[in-house]
């Protein structure tokens, strides 16, 4: 008779462990991932299932459909409820809802544990019947699926594309003449730039900058007052050794 309580008690313990684990900062990522997905996609649904159905009442395919649907639905509808609480859809709120729901449901299901054989046993649970070679074939298939994703990801990341840099210049404080300017080198190699701050053709300041791939340069600069009487301020960027303008930005001054 005690054997009938093993499964709900085991799941109860698992839920509590998951709840505790998910409160740990810096938890090993694969553990966090598995624990979270169990809490979202399986445990609440199975707990509810345990209340509503007798043990082994369903075929494994129907069972899977019921449990996953229950779990996802409990999560979604629970999110609507969480929105009404002070927790909101925060991490704490989710832990409380999903683990709390599961624990309460499992406790209720303990009262429903049958001590005799199931009269409605519609289970047609056949053994999996997989041979070693079949398992190896499935494993090889999983490896191929994984390789496909890896090839696609790497191919997308390193595909030939127009590389570029971002340049900007905007007023940080117009009345003080403070500007925010910068350059992001979003190319895949180190580049040298000549950056010139101009006021209607007159150079205010010039910088020679070397940026590695994905590196940024940013400056907040106070434009001298006498340059603010002109009509525009520009930031012009040249690649080192070139005379053609690579990037340019312009701010008008005055009305």
């Amino acid at each position: 008779m005690f054997r009938n309580y093993l499964r709900p008690l085991g799941l109860l313990a698992l839920t509590v462990v998951i709840w505790v684990l998910l409160t740990i900062e810096g938890l090993f990522f694969p553990v966090r991932l598995i624990a979270s997905l169990l809490l979202i996609g399986f445990l609440p649904g199975y707990a509810l299932f345990s209340i509503l159905f007798r043990r082994d009442a369903l075929d494994v395919t129907d069972l899977s459909a019921f449990v996953i649907s229950f779990s996802l639905g409990i999560t979604i509808l629970g999110g609507i409820l969480l929105n009404l609480t002070p927790f909101g859809l925060s991490e704490e709120g989710w832990r409380l809802w999903l683990a709390g729901f599961t624990i309460i449901a499992l406790l209720i299901s303990l009262f429903r544990v049958e001590t005799k054989a199931d009269d409605f046993a519609g289970s047609h649970r056949r053994p999996h019947n997989l041979s070693t070679s079949q398992i190896m074939i499935f494993a090889a298939a999983i490896v191929l699926f994984g390789m496909s994703i890896a090839i696609a990801y790497e191919g997308d990341r390193s595909r030939p594309k127009e590389e570029f840099a971002q340049v900007w210049l905007f007023w940080e404080d117009y009345w003080q003449g403070a500007v925010n300017m910068g350059l992001n080198n979003l190319e895949t190699q180190t580049n040298d730039y000549r950056i010139v701050l101009l006021s209607t053709g007159t150079t205010i300041h010039e910088w020679e900058v070397t940026l590695e791939a994905q590196e940024s340069w940013q400056v907040q600069y106070m434009i001298p007052r006498h340059f603010l009487a002109t009509s525009e301020v520009s930031l012009v960027v040249y690649r080192a050794g070139e005379t053609e303008i690579y990037r340019s930005t312009t701010l008008r001054v005055g009305n």
Binding site: L89, L251, R252
Partner: protein
């Protein structure tokens, strides 16, 4: 002569209406208990499908590197994958376990195609709309924020709630979490569809074939695999129907549990997607009507009236209390399409030309047109044949009649493709119609190819026909140029979303701050909303001529006035529009040139005008994309 004719009519009528049993079964080979435990071809099919997916990944990568024959490799791999799986599903000797496994494998493999198409970030238009919604929820931990490009998205937050839970608990990023949500949904969907069809037909063979035919639905490969609310809502809608059918014949001890499942899945559908909920209601109302007709009345079977009423109350309550704007959002395109259709019928308007080119650089090949027309004809023939046999053999089974009615609605919905506003509507109806179409066609197939013994000719013929349906479905889903990645194309959704646009939007979020008002073209507007957390001005939402700011050679005084009135702070200008034509016929919004269409790209001077206008500062330059700040203090009455 009349007597002979009458005799033929009478003969046909008797042939059409033979005596039928209440629950006839499909003739199939009865497998032994030992045979039911076998996995059959599934291991090798899994390996083969994985290999095909690998080839597809290589093809997509080849397309990214502009290698020749990448497209050919893609089509060969995906068609081979489908062909081998459908051929096993058509066979007579596969066990239920194997058929279910193949169906799950097929669904997952096709989903992998979508992941491989966009492995690094969301690149489908609707995905980015929902990305903004999930981003807002993650930031604020609350629901029902504002999304200027898709205002109804935050009001149906089921997808984003699930994603939020995964992001918060696992620490994964939005993109990976979104892939997980839709992937789990896809598996559950295939499982649910198989079980649903199996409950209806009492045949795992019919269920397997029908589910595989559903994969030929044009939305299956990309649209309903993307991070969008329909992708998840379909799962719950299907599970609702499955649970209702299960409940109809469930033993007494299961009634309460299945009722709970109906309530949970119904509630989840209602809060996830509006259109799916409405089609679920339509399905339920048909079901309720049929089961109350005397011919189909069954004392042993509980009716669904209570659930239907509950569904109506739930849907209306959500619309009235939460999602009021959805009424106009749905009614407007439907009424527009219906009015167009009526005008075409009465000759007041010309019908839309099918396969009309919106871009002269791409012409649809002749074989593609034949394939697409052929797919439509095959579906019509398949549905007609299936409906005929449903009536002859299964007309006392309400589930069959229900599927037949859904399948028969297909031709009527496709007429909408001839209207100017109807093609998208006709396409959106597809996933729901295919629920009936695939079942009806599967019934028709097993009628011609019963599961009693192997016929190699019929096997090959039906494999080829199913393959043609699948091929045509992919071509209907996306223009061929959009199926594979490649070089940048203007206003071409997945072919337009790339690093420069994304990084520009991220730059705006980081350096300018969030919730500023932007005006931009179709794609950069989308990126600004999703990655940039900005607000976008659109013609439909703000009732102003946004394209006019960009494509006019100069700005007129009333346009400056509009800039002030609407509060536009920044303009995004994409200089690539001076080099390439737009793939959908417009850069900014449909109809921006009125009745005309672009025959050449925009003039550089048109987009450069802001550099010579003292009311605009060019504050950002990334080469192709520039951001201009509107100097509102110079000409607006800013307090």
């Amino acid at each position: 002569m009349r007597r002979n004719l009458w005799g033929w009519i009478r003969y046909f009528w008797l042939w059409l209406n033979p005596h039928v049993e209440r629950h006839p079964r499909h003739p199939e080979v009865e497998l032994s208990e030992e045979e039911q435990r076998h996995w059959g071809w599934l291991p090798m099919l899994t390996l083969f499908s994985a290999f095909c997916v690998l080839l597809i990944a290589l093809a997509m990568t080849g397309a990214r590197y502009y290698l020749p024959n990448s497209e050919t490799l893609f089509w060969v791999a995906i068609l081979a994958m489908y062909a081998l799986n459908i051929t096993r599903l058509l066979s007579t000797g596969a066990s239920r376990r194997e058929r279910l496994g193949i169906v799950l494998l097929l669904g997952l493999s096709i989903y992998f195609v979508k992941i491989i198409r966009s492995p690094s970030y969301f690149s489908f238009y609707d995905e980015l709309l929902h990305r903004r919604t999930i981003d807002d929820i993650l930031t604020t931990n609350t629901l029902f924020s504002t999304n200027t490009l898709l205002p109804v998205s935050p009001l149906y937050p089921g997808l984003e709630i699930l994603t939020n839970a995964i992001v918060k608990l696992t620490g994964l990023d939005i993109f990976t979490s979104g892939l997980l949500v839709v992937g789990i949904g896809r598996l559950l969907f295939m499982l649910g569809m198989f079980l649903f069809y199996e409950r209806f037909s009492h045949s795992s063979r019919v269920a397997g074939i029908a589910t595989a035919l559903y994969a030929a639905n044009p939305h299956f490969i990309f649209f309903d695999a993307q991070y969008g609310y329909e992708s998840l809502a379909l799962v719950f809608a299907l599970m609702t129907l499955y649970a209702l059918e299960y409940r109809a014949y469930a033993p007494e001890g299961h009634i309460a549990g299945v009722t709970f499942l109906v309530l949970i899945t119904l509630g989840s559908t209602i809060v996830t997607h509006h259109i799916t909920t409405i089609f679920l209601l339509i399905f339920l109302v048909l079901w309720v009507i049929l089961e109350h007709l005397p011919y189909w009345w069954d004392d042993e079977r509980p009716d669904f009236l209570n659930f239907f009423l509950l569904a109506v109350v739930g849907t209306l309550s959500w619309m009235v209390y939460i999602a009021t704007i959805v009424i106009n959002y749905l009614v407007q395109p439907i009424s527009s399409a219906i009015f167009d259709l009526v005008n075409i019928i009465f000759g007041k308007e010309e019908g839309r030309q099918l396969f009309a080119n919106t871009n002269e650089t791409y012409t649809i090949p002749l074989y593609e047109k034949f394939l697409i027309y052929g797919t439509a004809i095959l579906i019509l023939i398949g549905v007609a044949w299936g409906v005929l046999w449903i009536w002859r053999v299964h007309r006392k089974q309400i589930s069959y009649i229900l599927m037949a009615l859904v399948g028969l609605a297909y031709p009527a919905t496709q007429v909408l493709r001839f209207t100017s506003t109807g093609p998208e509507l006709a396409g959106r109806i597809g996933p729901f119609m295919y629920t009936g179409i695939s079942f009806v066609v599967a019934v028709g197939i097993v009628r011609l190819y019963p599961g009693l013994r192997f016929h190699w000719k019929r096997h090959i013929i039906f494999t080829v026909l199913c393959l043609l349906l699948f091929w045509g479905g992919i071509l209907l889903s996306f223009a061929r140029w959009a199926v594979l990645p490649g070089e940048y194309m203007a206003s071409a959704d997945t072919r337009s979303i790339e690093e420069e646009g994304i990084s520009t939007a991220e730059w705006a979020a980081r350096y300018i701050g969030a919730n500023h008002v932007f005006a931009a073209d179709r794609i950069n507007a989308l990126l600004m909303v999703s990655y940039g957390n900005q607000r976008i001005v659109t013609g439909s939402f703000n009732q102003i001529d946004v394209p006019g700011f960009f494509i006019a050679p100069i700005l007129y005084p009333d346009q400056y006035h509009l800039l002030c009135q609407v509060g536009i702070e920044y303009l995004v200008v994409d200089m690539r529009f001076t080099e390439v034509l737009p793939m959908f016929g417009y850069y900014y919004e449909g109809g921006e040139l009125g009745p005309r269409s672009y025959d050449r790209p925009l003039e550089a001077g048109v987009l450069n005008k802001f550099d010579f206008d003292r009311y605009f500062d060019r504050i950002y330059d990334a080469g192709n994309i520039r951001i201009y700040q509107v100097r509102r203090e110079a000409f607006c009455d800013v307090p």
